[in-house]
Symmetry: C2
Subunit: 465 residues, 2 copies
Amino acid sequence: MLFPQQTYIERRARLRSLVGNGLIVLLGNNEAPMNYPANTYKFRQDSSFLYFYGQHRDGLCGVIDADNGQEWLLGDKIDIDDIIWYGSVDSVADMAAECGVQAHAPMAKLAELVAEALKAGRKVHYLPPYRYDHKIQLADLTGLHPYRLAPSQQLIDAVVALRSKKSAEEIAEIERACDIGYEMHTTAMRLCRPGVTEQYISGVIGGIAASRGAITSFQSITTMHGEVMHGYPSTAPLEAGRLFLCDAGAETNEHYCSDHTRTTPISGRYNQRQRDIYSIVSDCHDLALQVAKPGVKYLDVHLDVCRLMTDRLKDLGLMRGNTEEAVQAGAHALFLPHGLGHMMGMDVHDMEGLGQIHVGFNAETRPSTQFGLNALRMGRRLEEGFVVTDEPGIYFIPALIDLWRKQGTNAEFLNFDKIETFKDFGGVRIEDDVLITANGCRFLGEKRIPYHIDDVEAFVAENKE
Amino acid sequence: MLFPQQTYIERRARLRSLVGNGLIVLLGNNEAPMNYPANTYKFRQDSSFLYFYGQHRDGLCGVIDADNGQEWLLGDKIDIDDIIWYGSVDSVADMAAECGVQAHAPMAKLAELVAEALKAGRKVHYLPPYRYDHKIQLADLTGLHPYRLAPSQQLIDAVVALRSKKSAEEIAEIERACDIGYEMHTTAMRLCRPGVTEQYISGVIGGIAASRGAITSFQSITTMHGEVMHGYPSTAPLEAGRLFLCDAGAETNEHYCSDHTRTTPISGRYNQRQRDIYSIVSDCHDLALQVAKPGVKYLDVHLDVCRLMTDRLKDLGLMRGNTEEAVQAGAHALFLPHGLGHMMGMDVHDMEGLGQIHVGFNAETRPSTQFGLNALRMGRRLEEGFVVTDEPGIYFIPALIDLWRKQGTNAEFLNFDKIETFKDFGGVRIEDDVLITANGCRFLGEKRIPYHIDDVEAFVAENKE
């Protein structure tokens, strides 16, 4: 467990109090088969389960009776085969004791507890399942179809309320993830040169994440095609003159994340066109850091960035017209079809599985349906202790350019003839992880991965492997 | 696609012929959520789907009408969001054309085809699903519960018949995986020294697998506790004087596997007790290579190894009595609770998801229920073109020693007083991948990872990083 027992006891007590009544079921994850039942992916515990119980074993479930406070940790006993094949592991009794849960029982107890509660007309609270084994399990428990379950909004809201604000100890763990991220990204920058494959760099930095922590916090994006938002690395060798975009993060052994992006010139220096675009993105990146603070909506930080980006794209002749009108119309989304950032914590898009709308938005700040803005994952007012990413980007996506041009979308704000000449550009993104502090915000991680043009070029020149 | 179109067409034609009648449904894999729906594990296509269609995209399904030969490749269309987020990808029509399938349609067509077939009283053949999303999908198609489906034995037998014998091109791809395995294992041997963590070595060799191919073929075992059959690496630093067991393999980008194990002295040289045990295992390893050939049951190769192991453990005073009787009783299984090896190919335990009993056994060679022998995954007669692992080991498992001593299990063959003194030993395993040739067998992989005592010690001395 990362934290003292008392931390987990208090978290569950607050959860119980926020939910108010009914039976709360928190499913831990099971092993996930890759290509046959026994060949599983690396085990990843559910983040909310970790948050409330701190236990890393598969096959567990926490139950809290919110009405009377009774708690159970459920899980099946280990036998001699488990010991021979997987080594000596803690018993469920030991794990329950460790995290301060009074009662423990085999997993079969869950059906009994849920059936009793339902029979008594009580609410059974569960989070939206994202694993299919959980969908089947919940379907068996509730009698609903695996794809037509009814997760509890009260439970979602309570978990979001608790997990959104990071404690000092959680922030320290995120900083550890950022330190691993520093090693991953500076290694990628050193390896970035003509002839090295995207896959090679992805593999090496994945090895760094796994050798110093648990795993990458998501599948690394290491690509010459930065204009693909979440492209997977190919076996293509890097080409001189192009840009190399690396978006990657680490997860510590306790499953706190980092998430950074850098865009490095494969030839070591940005050419003029790349400097023009890159400097807009780095200025947008710095702007966000100036304006993000408690009380400010992250939606407004996003829009500030969009205005600056639009102004600067007008200077380059790629956009035109009134900046405010262009941003209102979403014209800049041709270049920035995603949001400025997302919450980050134990999930790299923190709590996204609970429903982005419940994490990044609320009654005051509603999500948009406009193209581009609809991909903003975090819009609501910032609070001290939030951790968010700051990740502006500019992309030239040939298929999207063709589509908008054909449809005449936002044609009054876009100079398609000039944009056409950028179709071979690719994309630029710069991303860091930001802690909202009492009066402002700060980057997380002890060392800065270089991102200003001069710093990147100097780093690459000094560190070529 | 790894092979020419004609290869896939022929494989499907043979499959159709072997199954004979009914509707064959071959589900390709979908993305597998890790900690929320959009944060997926690295995509791994189903091996049988790859074998018959060669297509790497998620969300596909192949259907073959075995009665009239009609074929479909099913999958949903991509849209502009797919292009923005994941890049330009081939259409289902293009993929169908590439692998020689005449018709294509959206995935919704599957329910229609299956419903028609069931209505007409025809058999719908599907393989045992190991992914839970497939269990739900098949439950929806058949009306059965996700955990009470009825996979087709005809289809299982047909797929096993086809995939068991590897073609020259498949063997070449396995050799490529073995070459990556060579780099992984020799790197682990170089890194193996006091103070380096198990996790560190696991991460670095995982990075090698991912940078040169797709992924590790299974979660690497890198441990001082070789006596745990499938222990995961810990953050514990390696200790002088102990043994370090590394069981790891690579998967190429086309998803053919390697699987090797080496046991290296952390201090650079084996001590006398380690030499005594290690030399038995290396002699057993070599023995298997001498006796494995077409027509020989792998069960008998396993038993030959068990006899040699028992003889040699008697020389050390750890076992006693008549060797043949001891092996018949399964007394050696205290030290070797697993089988000599398993099939290997596109799955590291090849086709294990189809049911080990259908892959490694048949009407002539039945699996055993005896402890130890019941973990033998491959027993039937070898044929030219089979690829199997040769992986003897000797382990001292404290909990198992205590249990057998308490129960008096095989007490007439075991010198528990002496065995007790080995409880701090750990375990030794040596594993290579073996191709059954026309007249015998050979190791796969261009270069041998050192495994004889003198070779290991010399390699470590020359290559310490």
